[in-house]
Amino acid sequence: MKLDAKIPEGPLTEKWDRHRFNSKLVNPANKRKYDIIVVGTGLAGASAAASLAELGYNVKSFCIQDSPRRAHSIAAQGGINAAKNYQNDGDSIFRLFYDTIKGGDFRAREANVYRLAQISNNIIDQCVAQGVPFAREYGGQLANRSFGGAQVSRTFYARGQTGQQLLLGAYGALMRQVKEGKVTLYPRREMMELVVIDGSAKGIVTRNLLNGQLETYAAHAVVLATGGYGNVYFLSTNAMASNVTATWRAHKQGACFANPCFVQIHPTCIPVHGDYQSKLTLMSESLRNDGRVWVPHNADDKRDPSQIPEAERDYYLEKKYPSFGNLVPRDVASRNAKEQCDAGKGVGETGLAVYLDFAEAIQRDGESVISQKYGNLFQMYEKITGQDPMHVPMKIYPAVHYTMGGLWVDYNLMTTVPGLFALGEANFSDHGANRLGASALMQGLADGYFVIPATIAGYLAETDMDRPDTDSPEFKEAEQKTEAKITRLLSINGKRTIDDFHRELGLLMWDSCGMARNEQGLQDALKKLPGIKEEFWNNVLVPGTGEQLNQSLERAGRVADFIEFSELMVLDALDRKESCGCHLREESQTEENEALRDDKNYSYVSVWDYGGENKKPTLHKENLVFENVQLSQRSYK
């Protein structure tokens, strides 16, 4: 297979303009003759469905939750970036582009990222017009804050609930089109299969989660905006229903998967407190501005933190990185925390936590200043842990947060299956090996509001207007395949619960394919995964039946896919022998134990082609060409 990213000709700054000019259009009267399926109603899916319907296409919108408004995007806290330069602090489209490319450790496509930076400004305007109540200055102008990885203040926000406000804006736009009759909503549906006819995506099979019915839907194009797969690791900051099922099953139908091993781990989450734990909660990174990270000097020191004298505390980040100290980037902070815990110096009941201590800041600035800055975060922490960080040092631990990998897409956001598009966190496109804070919301909305409405026309204009038919054998076959899988899951009747398998898988992946990886660990994982899969399919216990609301069955299907997908993640991690972005490859370090990127050998996107059941996938490489930025190594010493 030959990968063609379809990057438009011309200088970087003109590519998007030229491309839109050169693309075919669908004339307004014909738009209503095309049906488009959009799976997912997060920022990417809701904005796409609404915008496509506004143009006149007939849209079918699917989501797992009972309402489109509840997609995982709702939980994003910090903000959304844009190159408005409202602060007059030297920001520009080029700077946002540069920061994103550099933040991604030079593993993203220049043309896509530049377009993202260009569109960022339209997003803010659009959201304001929708009535999204962004934070304002006294004079009524939009307020900004700064975020990691940038020296300018370009993040727009609505308190700590930016994702919620943006999503409610997109959801409103979507519901308006529902009212107009241009969008049909299908909530509580899970996409189980992609249907490909004559090489092109023509529909999906879904399970109606309320009654277990399998349903088939046909369309001229299918858009996946199904989010990220961080829940591979069992514990993550993702919502419980976040999954890889939609993209994985599309992958098995021919959509290549790019950079599956690129996962972001967030350093400041509330630590795990027991085996029963179901998810991890993010605490804003801003806490590291005033908190000092430490562990006891000696391993297995179980004393209360207040009993550990200064001299016996190890402020390891300040010691190791004197110039950045506690403010080192996400990956460095995460990795070092794990290192300390692995060395037995972790604190708390589980030993999987480090302290984030505000005592010095409180002494310096007073309780009221600290409370003003972090009051709501402290409250949230106290709600969950029952401890007040004003008096007891906070405990934090890294957690899986975001997945940069996803379905490979070209400049048009089309996957390697014609007619199948991927948007938002579900695609791989813009963040390289590491995503900057406040850039996921930007990308989701850029894809949905502005990119797909323009690029899908180019595909549809060349597509037969005849409505595909769900009676065709391909639909029947896909439906039967789904049915067989469900029947099998329900008939195993084994001894181990679904969560039990998921936990085992998560732990294995966290240890071997998390923030630090090595050849040996990855090889071991690769050997263990088939065993987990084998046991799952012989010993999982899925109670209930298929003809009803059955949340166990839903989870079982998702975990089955996570198990298969993990193998691809490990293969990808094995191939990439360099340290890069969020992950450290232990064999690739500088003398000072810092991550060492290898541009000579790994300046490519890994694009995996499904090989078939129990067969090895094929690796294709999209070489990355940098014409507008100079590659540089990071240093935080």
């Binding site: 009972d66 709702i74 609930q161 909660t281």
Partner: protein, 253 residues
């Protein structure tokens, strides 16, 4: 960490048409660090292991923001803690030996789907009638073109912080959705972008609310007390003003 044992009386209902009843379960040792939903997870693992069907309950973010979770615990929607969703309620607020009575959100407009899962799609239908500003994508003026006083933006955000969980409806003796509608109408009534449609929005959303089987507001203030996001009933007052204004001066019907 402390361990407590609880008696759990939970509503079990096979499907929309079947009649339900309470099932009494012993929780076994529960860590006080668990969230309420994690307590249910533990119960469910135990049920599954002995071949029984787990308790169905809705949840997703488990961070108090998606609005998916919710149940009535000992008579309180989302349980006894103030401004806390069920997923953010922690077991340290209960004592060893307590009995927990757990029921779905009940209202004429919400059908029980199974156990604690209810159908809240009526709330989406209300939004479809006007819970937005009618602008298409593209062509929006610069974000700073219309200044919005900080206070106004903050008040609008107070209103739009609603997570659409339906606790207000479940808590209301009349199963009214006035707090939900009031919050949305207020958000746009406060902002300049919402003005052109404000009359129609209030009329249409209230009409849809009535049609969907929600009751009238009787000023009981139970909604405000149950709201996990602290949405104030001032929003209902604003809705009433908007509604009357619309009904009197507007040409729209």
């Amino acid at each position: 960490m402390k361990l407590i044992n609880l008696i759990v009386k939970v509503w079990r209902q096979e499907n929309e048409t079947s009649s339900g009843s309470f099932q009494t379960l012993k929780s076994g040792p529960i860590s006080t660090d668990m969230s309420f939903l994690e307590m249910l997870d533990v119960l469910n693992e135990k049920l599954a292991k002995v071949g029984k069907e787990p308790i169905a309950f809705d949840h997703d973010c488990r961070e108090g923001i998606c609005g998916m979770c919710g149940a009535v615990v000992n008579g309180h929607a989302h349980g006894p803690e103030n401004e806390t969703t069920l997923c953010q309620l922690h077991m340290r607020h209960f004592n060893d030996g307590d009995t927990l009575v757990i029921e779905p959100f009940r209202a004429r407009a919400f059908k029980v789907v199974k156990d604690l899962v209810v159908d809240r799609s009526a709330l989406d239908s209300i939004i479809a009638e006007g819970g937005y500003v009618s602008v298409n994508t593209g062509g929006a003026p610069d974000g700073n073109a219309v200044p919005i006083p900080q206070d106004t933006a903050e008040q609008a955000l107070d209103a739009s912080a609603c997570i659409g969980c339906g606790a207000c409806v479940a808590a209301c003796p009349n199963a009214s959705a006035m707090l939900f509608v009031g919050a949305k109408v207020s958000q746009y009534a406060l902002l300049p972008q919402g003005q052109p449609e404000s009359a129609r929005r209030a009329l249409d959303m209230v009409r849809k609310m009535d049609e969907s089987g929600f009751g009238n507001c009787g000023n009981e203030r139970e909604c405000e007390a149950a709201c996990p996001k602290g949405i104030s009933i001032r929003n209902i007052a604003r809705l009433n003003r908007e509604f009357i204004k619309a009904a009197i001066i507007s040409y729209e019907k």
